[in-house]
Symmetry: C2
Subunit: 428 residues, 2 copies
């Protein structure tokens, strides 16, 4: 309960600090006065199946009242998990029409070979049987230890118990069931005012370690009552993903199980392509996904700081992203951030090895608005002012390369001793 309260406080503070789009009203579980409310047409349930954790819910079902438009993006890791392969296949088979999403924590069902695929299929089949829908209408996701077979008897018993736990206002419970080393559940909702009326957009996510999404993301499940064609929904998800989940890193390790999926129930009026409403919907989707992405970094394994790395003036956006990601992933930058040491030389050294092109004598560096480095490598700043910024829980580092208009923004965190502790004995 203490951790849940900590999580609600973090979510509340981040929401207050977020420049939400004008058409959006943030609705945290707290402000809802509920335990997390899904959009019209959705309900979720969670049970303790005993997969790995004891005395904790570890199996979750998100169910839609009717057929939904669906879209998803998946990890690019060649060692992708069985549920990733199966869910990708189901989306194709059903032409983007899904009804349910099942997810377990504690076991990733990754690096499990042919048996792992059988197990993922059995999960989909069991859910389909319980809900009287087709197996290809079920998205399957798993997260946890790699390389161990799922305890299928426990999983299938758990699935049988799920339907009776379905409720529209139990989203926080579902968000908690997909946690691994996360310390608090991540769920948030937006109300989006469109010309056709208002729609609701909700999402949950988990992250913590092995966080460096690449053209995909850690687990994030979103739902909306908007009516959106599957192809359009896929485009909206893909575009929003680029600047949200694909722009974060905790430890530079891209997971085998990354997945972001969205279901649209269509109980609200339809959003058409190229409309002003579509633009507003995309803005809101990107804002919600960015919000959840930041929550993942804030709750990164051992993390104590959320740092926004901005690279401007690169030759192109690709160069900017190379530099920003390399800075955000540098162990030396991350330990300096942790130690609150304004060791700016490590930031430029990381940029220098990133592959981005620039002339070192044209670099400019800022911590928040404080100029640290002027062109010609002239560092003339107040150590006290820098220390004050670095003592904050959240700040930005901006590097200007002096080349062109390339721009990138990524979010990273510090590297702490707790990260080493958590990951030295993860399997046990």
């Amino acid at each position: 309960m203490e951790k849940l309260n900590k999580g609600l406080k973090v979510i509340h503070e981040l929401s207050a600090a977020t420049p939400w789009p004008a058409s959006v009203t943030p609705m945290s579980a707290e402000s809802d006065g509920t335990a997390g409310f899904w959009p019209e047409g959705f309900s979720s349930g969670a049970v303790d199946a005993g997969i790995k954790y004891s005395n904790r819910k570890d199996l979750m079902l998100l169910s839609a009242d009717g057929p939904c438009s669906a879209a998803a993006v998946f990890t690019t890791n060649l060692c992708c998990a069985a549920p990733v392969e199966l869910s990708r296949y189901h989306l194709q088979l059903s032409s983007g029409s899904m009804r349910a999403l099942v997810c377990n924590s504690g076991n990733a069902n990754a690096a499990t070979g042919a048996r792992g695929m059988d197990d993922a299929r059995a999960m989909a089949a069991a859910v389909a049987s319980e809900l009287a829908i087709k197996p290809e209408e079920v998205v399957v996701a798993s997260t946890g230890v790699i390389g161990q077979l799922l305890p299928m008897e426990k999983v299938l018993n758990g699935i049988k118990a799920l339907p009776s736990s379905l409720q529209r206002d139990s989203a926080l419970d579902a968000a908690r069931a997909i946690m691994t080393t996360d310390t608090f559940p991540k769920f948030f909702s937006l109300k989006v005012q469109l010309s056709v009326g208002s729609v609701r957009l909700s999402g949950m996510a988990k992250g913590s370690g092995m966080i460096c999404p690449n053209m995909a993301t850690m687990l994030a499940f979103l739902a909306t009552d908007a009516s959106v064609d599957p192809t359009l929904l896929q485009k909206a998800l893909h575009d929003a993903n680029r600047s949200s989940f694909n722009a974060i890193t905790v430890d530079g390790d891209t997971s085998t199980n990354d997945m972001a999926a969205i279901l649209a129930s269509g109980t609200a009026p339809e959003i058409l392509a190229d409309s002003q409403d579509y633009t507003l919907f995309c803005e809101a989707l990107e804002a919600l996904m960015t919000f959840l992405a930041k929550l993942i970094v804030i709750d990164g394994e051992g993390a104590t700081k959320l740092v926004e790395i901005i690279v401007e003036g690169a030759a192109d956006d690709r160069d900017a992203e190379l530099a920003a990601r390399t800075i955000a992933q540098s162990s030396l930058v991350k330990t300096a951030i942790h130690g609150e040491d304004a060791n700016w030389g490590r930031v430029v050294a990381a940029a220098g090895r990133s592959g981005a092109s620039f002339n070192q004598n044209e670099l400019e560096l800022f911590f928040n608005d404080l100029i640290i480095l002027k062109p010609g490598f002239i560092a003339d700043f107040s150590e006290e002012a820098a220390a004050e910024i670095m003592a904050k829980n959240s700040y930005s580092i901006t590097l200007r390369l002096g080349r062109g208009t390339g721009y990138a923004k990524v979010w990273g965190c510090d590297l702490s001793k707790e990260y080493v502790d958590i990951n030295g004995s993860y399997r046990s």
Copy 2:
């Protein structure tokens, strides 16, 4: 003294475990019965110039009795330090004929702009003046904090005191003066039996953090009495570098100051291109550089394990290197190595995000000779046997991709809480 003894013990043990080429006789400082003996024609000196550290020598001079063939490889970091730029220029200007090498620790003279270049030039000029040689015959190197100007008065006073400290048998003293967070000095010699007689090959190195050499290396200074044409020497150094200094990583951060340089005094008989002697010389050079590279990893910041990562059966060598480096640099693999947890899923997950091509169902994985993973993702091994291997100070992880004949070997270490401690407050 305790640390020095620890270092000598580590060096002795690694030498005993090294499969030296047949033509080579290892000669550690210990077995020499000296404090480190340079080849004929070389002497070194070190002084406490008070640059950053207190009560420690921090300025070193390696001097040759006459003109030497010289070769060097440098960092590819765009933010390369002033001494790197200057030394590269001096090598060109002198057509690979050098007489001396000066190096300070405590300050990298990196990210210091035009003033930094002036300071590096002043160091070369002062050494040249003391030794009555030309400035372009001096290699300049620096290591330490980035982004701070050198205290030039202290540096120049130190350079004045250096010539009187020159001795042929004080190499360990010089190796200690280039240390930063290294815990012991790294110096080693080989006697190489050639058809023209025997030659001696010595080298010192420093490393510890910001270690991920890329087409260059951390500081390593080598000397030989062999007579080798500069162009041939450059080729030998470049080739040996690829499988030694360029095959290690401590934290994935490529330094601004990486440099490996070699001087050949030519007091021993000449080694000609395409000769059997040249092959033997190259073998010995690669063996010495690999030995020093491993010492750098063993003494990496906070490191407690030296792990050899071998990738076989890749589509080509580039793919093999991508996979091997990604595994060696993965924070999750490194923390599992630290925690002695046989979390093999992290190894294949790192390979999966590396960019190397393979089919995950064809992977084979070994810890030393213990098979961990068979094709089809069948993991069937004794946890006790795996734990026994992971408890060792040094072992190998071999991943077979099942694609072709591509091969790579890199050396990495674990990630410990001490690394975070060391790097949270490096500037202070």
